[in-house]
């Protein structure tokens, strides 16, 4: 058993990676889905094992090819990367339980072999980014994730042809972002002669004052910002989330942007070092305004949306603002809050998008005008949406409340006027969230259904996974020791590693 566990870091990635070609060879609707779900569950199990192990024992290193770093590529599972891996594989498995029936309405059955192949590649890519310790390897797996994302989003074209332009826009913006990251890595390589993150970090103090390194940091931060849809680079996200198939949106809402937040945290703390990032390079003053603008303006924009998926997409950009805020505070509590929100937001948002997916399955539309009165037509699903909405707002007993509580504490720790200003902005943003959630609730319960609208609850195979996420969210909103525990361990590890 222990020798199998020693291989766990690589197994969690190559299981989906090697199942993708196998999946592509099959034409039926059942086998690809079954294979994908089993593999995703296995990855989840491995990630969970790793997480519990490294939370106690510290980071685990794996040398691929048997070559020691920095000559070869190494995988490092530390408290943060194991936590993010678990989030990715967990969300993926949950979404797959939903996917069985849902996807048949949006993608022709003959294409499902390729579709699930791309799905496996996306999750393998995301997990590969998270656990690698080599800067160039990040780029390669980032491209695996990106390419499979572009095609997964474009599969929504069966429902709405704008999925094609959304995928194309994402391709252009995403490739620019990835190329910026490539330039940043190149400049760092030029100044250090190595590609291993830990190796670069050890040399960073000597070179941090040189111009190429400052430019490299700039390119890297902008590249990550594009990929995580930080305001103002968020333009690709609303379209991509709106027009992609339901389960693709649910998967990406919970995982894709979180991975880019992870990369930002990783590079700031493990490579540049907190002193450089927040001292010499005023990252706080750079990131803070963008975070605040995202939190406020995106919530406002969400209020005016007619398309439910689009509304939730703008809400996601606002929530990402919270995560950036936590990082920009440059404190351990801020970092903990940010990591915690990655987890909580993932569960809540995926649950919300799954409930919208169920609504789409029955009614065929995600536009608010078609969803009027849905509270009477689909009571269980709509109630799930309401609960998820409460979690977004941050009502006590919900995970949203927990993350915001920790974030407010971190913000007030500053003690200065800015801290109070930030806390007030968070409060205002939550009020905006109340408005847009209330708008949907009012429409769902208090408006009459349009004539001839389809009625009837969604099938159980859709309701159950959706409610697993909603209830799971509440569980982690009440019993917070695990999620907070992992987030705190990760934050302490990252900050402590630089003492």
């Amino acid at each position: 058993m222990s020798s199998l566990f020693a291989q766990a870091p690589i197994l969690a990635i190559i299981l989906p990676l090697l199942s993708a070609p196998i999946c592509a060879l099959f034409r039926g609707a059942t086998f690809p889905w079954a294979l994908t779900t089993i593999v995703s569950a296995l990855s989840f199990g491995l990630s969970l094992d790793l997480l519990f192990y490294v939370a106690e024992h510290g980071a685990v290193s794996y040398e691929i090819g048997g070559w020691a770093p920095p000559y070869g590529i190494e995988y490092i599972a530390d408290p943060l990367s194991a936590f993010v891996m678990t989030i990715i594989s967990g969300i993926s498995t949950g979404v797959l339980l939903f996917a069985r029936e849902s996807i048949l309405k949006e993608v022709p059955a003959s294409r499902l072999g390729f579709f699930f192949s791309a799905y496996l590649l996306a999750i393998a890519g995301m997990m590969g980014i998270t656990v690698t310790g080599d800067a160039f390897n990040i780029f390669v797996f980032l491209e695996i994730t990106s390419l499979s994302s572009y095609v997964l989003i474009s599969m929504g074209a069966g429902t709405d042809r704008r999925a094609l332009t959304a995928a194309f826009q994402y391709l252009i913006v995403g490739t620019i972002g990835a190329t910026f990251i490539l330039i940043g890595v190149g400049l760092l390589y030029a100044m250090t002669g190595t590609l291993n993150i830990a190796d670069i970090a050890s040399q960073f103090d000597q070179i941090e004052d040189t111009r190429p390194v400052r430019a490299a940091v700039g390119f890297l931060v902008v590249g990550f910002a594009i990929k995580l849809a930080m305001f103002p680079f968020h333009i690709w996200l609303p379209n991509a989330y709106t027009y992609a198939p339901s389960i693709v949106t649910a998967l990406f809402a919970g995982t894709a942007t979180k991975v880019s937040v992870y990369l930002l945290i990783r590079f700031i703390y493990s490579m540049f070092g907190a002193d450089f990032s927040f001292g010499d390079l005023p990252l706080t003053t750079l990131l803070l305004p963008f975070a605040v603008v995202a939190i406020l303006s995106m919530s406002v924009v969400a209020i005016f949306q007619d398309n439910l998926k689009r509304l939730l997409a703008f809400s996601s950009v606002a929530q990402l603002g919270y995560m950036i805020l936590g990082i920009a505070l440059a404190s351990e509590s801020g970092l903990t809050a940010s990591i915690l929100h990655m987890f909580n937001h993932a569960i809540v948002k995926t649950g919300l998008f799954l409930s919208v997916g169920a609504m789409f399955y029955v009614t065929g539309s995600v536009y608010l005008k078609d969803l009027a009165g849905i509270g009477q037509r689909m009571p269980i699903t709509t109630f799930g949406f309401v609960l998820g909405g409460l979690a977004l707002i941050g009502v006590p007993l919900t995970p949203g409340f927990i993350s915001k509580w920790y974030l407010v504490q971190a913000v007030l720790e500053r003690g200065d006027a800015l801290g109070y200003g930030l806390a007030i902005s968070m409060l205002i943003s939550s009020l905006f969230a109340v408005i847009y959630i209330w708008r949907v609730v009012e429409l769902a319960y208090f408006k009459p259904s349009p004539e001839g609208a389809p009625t009837g609850e969604a099938p159980l195979t859709l309701i159950i996974p959706c409610w697993i996420f909603i209830l799971g969210g509440f569980y982690f909103g009440i019993e917070t020791s695990m999620s907070v525990g992992f987030a705190e361990t990760a934050a302490k590890f990252l900050m402590g590693a630089l003492q």
């Binding site: 194309f168 391709l171 252009i172 190329t179 330039i183 190149g186």
Partner: protein
């Protein structure tokens, strides 16, 4: 002295041309071409780092006192080139589908169509 960083300046010029093409042109195929140029500029950046004056390709030959240029940037760019063509293929496939469903590959026309929808 002038040629100390000449390669890097050429990289920058290509980079700017590529990025400008992507952002300012509305034809989708032109955007893809701009993206390709933008990526090619980055290749030049990496490969220049590996060059040694008086060196030769990093294929070991049986002669004494040969200076070899650094193979690691070459490896990285081999990967990057392939990733680039994969992105190009995907992008162009999307362009073909967009042309079929929208009837045009001009971004401004597509935006107009979506607004009036």
């Amino acid at each position: 002295m002038f040629f100390d960083h000449f390669n890097y300046w050429i990289t920058v010029i290509l980079f700017v041309i590529g990025l400008y093409t992507v952002m300012s042109r509305s034809n989708l195929v032109k955007k893809m071409i701009g993206l390709s140029i933008f990526q090619i500029a980055v290749f030049l950046l990496y490969i220049t780092m590996g060059k040694i004056e008086g060196g030769t390709a990093p294929i070991i030959i049986d002669q004494p006192d040969v200076i070899y240029s650094n193979p690691l940037p070459h490896v990285l760019i081999l990967t990057a080139i392939v990733v680039g063509v994969a992105t190009t293929a995907l992008g162009l496939a999307l362009v073909v589908r967009i042309k079929e469903t929208f009837g045009t590959i001009d971004e401004d026309e597509i935006l107009q169509m979506e607004e009036t929808k």
